[in-house]
């Protein structure tokens, strides 16, 4: 191995040019989100990587509430609640609208040592009472969601309703909207608190077991570790289970043809309603929807990824697939008993292979804790990113509709082009105009939004480099490895790709990523960059995407293998691929850039490589 010169580095975040026509992109975001001269020395010395896992596209100004909420609450738990000994915060910046993150760790052993007793006492209390705490957590999450649902934004009326007078409440609808908007934001931040209350501890316990296994059995596949810990009663398989159930019911009730023959969801529902048994099926659909169709078609951090409940294209498309398979006599059930049996067999066989009784005791302790925390690790996404966030986005839309109805915005979706603090200004402006019955500055907002739409369009064409700043000697920070799937090797490959001028030469080189799900498969590539392209996927194709969301699960029934740009072994694509027994390589960095639809790919889920074999 030739020695690498020590000077290899990623571009400075200060040297990244803005895309032509989007030079003014910084106006979309608050000052604290930008690289800045006064922090230059600190910022240039750090390693920043692109968070395509949660935010594959440029961040809409309003959507920044999601990234900002973990910016404060994840870090608060890490540094100020648990004092995870070696961890400092994970910082964020926006570059050309794309989110870059940078974890920090403590090197000074004395400083780390000081934090140990704090961590042991606090984390200890949570681990010891985990089951009870998790049960309460579910209650808190559901209560938070229930309160979110109650927030209703009504259009501004020509004249205040009579009820304001009869109730003698003294407050008004303008005040209501101001309060409800604040409540909406608070509710979002409250859920973010719950999200990170258990998140770090959950992943920490999982990682402890994972590291133990890797130590005891060098090169043990990550999927083996996940299979020993993972449960089968996972909420994010529930929506897909509901879809299977509805597919079976459609055949039983004889409404399957009406569903299969109508691609458009509205027409399909109308056709089903018109046949006998249709009412019963529609009732079953309604029942399944709450809450299981509050299932985002994306990672839940961007408003444009709609939930199934808002757009039935994905679940109805999946049902058409399942109906075809059922008619062909296939079994579409997940083999739950078998998965559970395998989980016990694998764990007991690895355990037997350990060298000493002390190791077996460590294995039992760490596996026990990992399994204890796992229901949270696996299920929280449904509560937080899917159920809560999907409703949250709709509430923001409802507020947008108030602006649209008053003629302040052209379209209710325009609200997403303003930052939440700017929405305060626009709201106040509109309420003032409404109260005075004089003109407000709707023209200003409309012009600004139009300009921002243009800028966002340019930003979307830009390809964010995987990393900026100073590369670390080794990637050791826990969340970086676990959540984002970034490893020392990966950073080396990015540096290599940067030198080799990466993207041009896709055919010759193999892409490397995480071996997320075992097996080797060849097939034609289907590059998907947005959820509305999912119906283009054909049987046996290799799905190549920036990142997958759990709601894509049905498409996994069709494909031969999966490749993603971002994600680690616990990413959705990895979990779902293992579930479906498909070879998958995740975290390739450049997959969607280097691969073109139609090229023949070889996906090696054992080695973590993707090769273009033809085309």
């Amino acid at each position: 191995v030739p020695s690498e010169p020590a000077t290899r580095t990623f571009p400075s975040p200060f040297d990244v040019p803005a895309p032509a026509g989007a030079e003014d992109w910084r106006r979309l975001y608050p000052a604290y989100y930008l690289f800045s001269e006064e922090r230059r020395e600190f910022e240039e010395d750090k390693f920043w990587f692109f968070d395509g896992l949660h935010n594959p596209e440029p961040v809409y100004p309003f959507d920044a509430i999601m990234t900002e909420s973990w910016w404060v609450f994840l870090n608060q738990f890490l540094t100020r609640v648990w004092q995870v000994p070696p961890a400092l915060g994970i910082d964020q910046r926006l570059v050309n609208g794309y989110l870059y993150v940078s974890p920090t760790t403590i090197d000074d052993p004395e400083e780390i040592e000081k934090r140990v007793p704090v961590f042991l006492e606090r984390a200890g209390r949570y681990y010891e009472n985990w089951d009870e705490i998790y049960e309460k957590w579910v209650g808190k999450a559901e209560d938070c969601i229930a309160r979110l649902r109650k927030i209703e934004f009504e259009p501004l009326a020509e004249i205040e309703p009579m009820e304001t007078v009869t109730s003698i409440r003294g407050t008004t609808s303008a005040w209501d909207i101001m309060r409800l908007y604040d409540e909406l934001l608070e509710n979002m931040h409250e859920m973010a608190c719950y999200h990170f209350e258990l998140n770090m501890l959950g992943y920490g316990a999982f990682m402890t077991f994972s590291d133990f296994c890797k130590n005891a059995f060098p090169d043990i596949p990550d999927q083996s570790i996940a299979r020993m810990v993972g449960g089968v009663d996972i909420l994010f398989f529930r929506p897909d289970d509901e879809v299977r159930k509805l597919s079976r019911l459609a055949l039983e009730l004889g409404v399957a043809d009406a569903l299969v023959d109508n691609e458009d969801p509205d027409e399909a529902l109308k056709a089903i309603g018109a046949v006998q048994g249709g009412d019963q099926w529609l009732a079953a659909l309604e029942q399944a929807k709450e809450p299981w169709f509050w299932f985002s078609t994306g990672p839940g951090y961007c408003h444009q990824h709609r939930a199934w409940i808002d757009d039935l294209t994905v679940p109805l498309g999946a049902m058409r697939g399942y109906i075809a398979r059922l008619r062909a006599g296939e079994n579409i059930d997940r083999p739950l008993d078998e998965i559970l049996r395998e989980r016990e067999r694998i764990a007991s066989e690895y355990r037997e292979l350990l060298p000493t009784d002390d190791d077996r005791s460590a294995f039992d302790e760490t596996l026990g804790l990992a399994r204890k925390v796992y229901p949270f690790v696996e299920n929280h996404n449904f509560y937080v990113e899917h159920w809560h966030h999907s409703i949250f986005w709709n509430k923001v839309r409802d507020l947008g509709k108030v602006f649209e109805a008053y003629g302040f915005f052209h379209d209710f979706e325009d609200i997403f082009f303003l930052h939440r603090y700017e929405v305060h200004e626009a709201l106040f402006d509109m309420l003032t105009a409404w109260a005075t019955t004089n003109p407000g500055r709707s023209g200003y907002w409309q012009d600004e939004i139009a300009e921002r739409k243009r800028i966002m369009e340019r930003l979307r064409q830009w390809a964010p480099p995987p990393a900026l700043g100073k590369p670390p000697d080794a990637v050791t920070e826990a969340a970086t490895v676990m959540l984002w799937g970034i490893t020392t090797d990966m950073v080396e490959q990015w540096l290599d790709a940067q030198e080799g001028d990466g993207a041009g030469d896709g055919a010759a080189s193999a892409l490397r990523g995480f071996a997320a799900s075992p097996g080797v498969v060849e097939g034609p590539a289907r590059v998907i960059t947005a959820v509305d392209q999912l119906d283009e996927v054909e049987l046996g194709e290799i799905l190549v995407c920036p990142v997958t969301a759990p709601s894509w699960a049905p498409v996994f029934a069709k494909i031969g293998g999966a490749v993603s740009d971002v994600g680690g072994i616990m990413s959705h694509a990895a979990i779902v691929s293992r579930e479906y027994g498909l070879p998958a390589v995740v975290g390739t960095g450049f997959g969607t850039k280097q691969i073109q639809t139609g090229q023949r790919l070889r996906v090696d889920g054992n080695e973590g490589t993707v090769t273009v074999v033809e085309g």
Binding site: G204, T208, L353
Partner: protein, 351 residues
Amino acid sequence: MSAAATQIRWLEECDASSVSEVGGKCASLGELIRMGMAVPPGFAVTTRAHDAFLDRHAVREREAELLASVHYDELREVADASERLRELVEQLELPEGTAAAVRAAYEQLCEGGANQPVAVRSSALAEDLATASFAGQLQTYLWVQGADAVVEHVRRCWSGFFTPEALSYRHRQGIAAEDARMSVGVQRMVRARCAGVLFTLNPVNGDRSKVVIESTWGLGETLVSGEVDPDRFTVDKVTLDLLATTIGAKQVERRPDPAGGGVVVADVEAGRRSVPSLSEEEAMALARVGKAIERHAGRPQDIEWAVDADTDEILVLQARAETVWSQRERPPTVQKRGSALEYVLADLLNR
């Protein structure tokens, strides 16, 4: 028991308790058959037959005479004694009953098809033990055809009982001449598409959660002797996932000599060198075989195997206890701690 029954024992009649009769190799092949493994059919020419041969011709007396004056640290002297004993043995006839029993067993092994090729190998008492590697295993004759040739090669194996290495070994181990004897195994040859060895641990680092398979084209002897860079497959022992594949150059292969008996070494055509000699399914099936044998034996194994070119069947040729890692102390993976929380802390601090 008939005379033939004391001279010959079929492999399926052997097991771990038969070592003194049929030697370690044949006894372990019998065990493999009993556990349901596919093993090429064959028989052992027993130690009793060997005893009878040595007694008939008073070879032990001659041995005692020759070795009495040998200084074992003088290699020349050992070599001289060896040469004279081997010359003697190679001139001697097998007792008639033994020769007839070998011929009859060989005919039976051919199952009507005349002159089926067999391998003739020594199966000594001390070899194949986890703690000893005995020089006697050097006697292996491949692709022997015809009853006369089989009888001839049994005698050659017996001659190999007196190699300088074998004499020195017995002296070193303090094995008296009257206690030493050897069995010979006769086994149908496998027409091997590919063959090789497998370890039920990773021979590089001793990791017991892996099965490592080395494989090459043709008979496995090219691999054992180090004439080729084999393909290497690493399989997870628990999940049977194929974790890594390295394709070796597989420069040459051993095939039967088209001109007659024995085998020849031939170059592998360039186009076939880069082709994996095993499919993923075959690697997994081999790992399953290794796992089953290890479980039966209760310790890590070193196994020789071949894939039949006609039937694609996996055949086990030999299974021994792995000797390198099995004898080392296995250090603990982690320091024992009082609670799961303390393991979490240690993990956070040691990243």
